[in-house]
Chain length 209, copies 2
């Protein structure tokens, strides 16, 4: 492999600009073949020491989903208390998860106790295992977006409570909760920017040493 052709590189850049964290989903189902193509990107993600520490739990039952949704609602209500005045009012209007609507939902874990890779690269920076899981999620996110699917990453959750509710092994560490489905709308602008919460930086600062 050498350089990929310019039309591909331009489209890749376009994909990244269009990606978005989606919180507004249509409720119609996602074809299993499409989802499988997206999930295949986990298998070729980089991982420290080739440890492949990602563990996926798909929430399919109404019971598991109801518990996760209640977790989000309670955690979000608690987070709101951290703001005051105009900021609290603005926070209260934000839609921060599509957990009510998204047809496909995953809790994504890192297995901290995996033997795979024999600890290579994780002696002084064991967090590299969790970062490997994030890298895989990012590949999944871009692949899904290329299929037209939206992905939303929910971090407004109490991880310990979710772990209990999902009865995962104690060595599994929650990295992300993902909502997946067909987005209601598409935009080049992050929703938090469109709604006035925060703006993107104009330039990337790089220090030198």
């Amino acid at each position: 492999m050498q350089r990929f052709p310019k039309p591909f590189r331009d489209e890749l850049s376009e994909l990244m600009r269009w990606r978005r964290d989606v919180r507004r989903f249509r409720t119609d189902p996602v074809d299993a073949a499409i989802l499988d193509r997206c999930l295949a990107s986990f298998a070729c993600a980089p991982s420290v020491g080739l440890s492949e520490p990602w563990r996926l739990v798909q929430l399919t039952s109404p019971e598991a989903r109801a518990k996760a949704l209640a977790n989000y609602k309670d955690t979000n209500a608690e987070a709101l208390k951290g703001y005051s005045g105009d900021q609290a009012a603005r926070y209260a209007t934000l839609k921060l998860s599509g957990m009510q609507e998204a047809p496909v939902q995953f809790a994504i874990y890192c297995d901290e106790a995996t033997d795979k890779g024999a600890g290579l690269g994780a002696a002084t920076m064991p967090e590299a295992r969790r970062y490997s899981v994030v890298g895989a999620i990012m590949q999944f996110w871009l692949t899904a977006r290329a299929e037209g699917l939206g992905v939303g990453w929910v971090s407004v959750l109490d991880p310990a409570r979710l772990n209990r509710d999902l009865a995962v092994p104690p060595a599994w560490h929650l990295v992300a909760y993902l909502c997946v489905g067909w987005p209601e709308t598409n935009s080049e602008m992050p929703e938090l920017e469109a709604l006035g919460w925060e703006q993107r930086a104009a330039t990337l600062t790089i220090e030198t040493r």
Copy 2:
């Protein structure tokens, strides 16, 4: 944006399969315009609360590079002591960084104290900020690879020592050390697999709840 065309999706999948963690670089320089195109992918990466917490330090001086390389060598010698017998012999033969050769090198940090995003999404999972940095790195990695550039992620380092040597602000947390340059070779197989350290899993396991 709807679905991207199939030829693009096929090439994206090909890019991910070809990506690799590169440790063997040619020493010839990387054109600044190419590097800038790759770094542009940071600006459109997802980040919790739109906090954009990534901070880049490019190591350009021989002094800074020598300190980072010594850090890697010492940390790697220490890591070797954690293995014995055949495994130690095999570990000793692995080339785990291209820090000696790679023309472009970055230490990538997360600013844990950023006001940007006003803490949204990081109350119960503050590590989401570091994960945002990893997502941006993954976009950079794929963009670089599409340009034919290799990226290697070195985690065999003492972060506290690197932070001191680079004199970064105390609130900056080291996420990754990246080597960037033209790869000596290309392969669809991870080097750790080719050298017999570990194999990739055949299938992705997904539990349901």
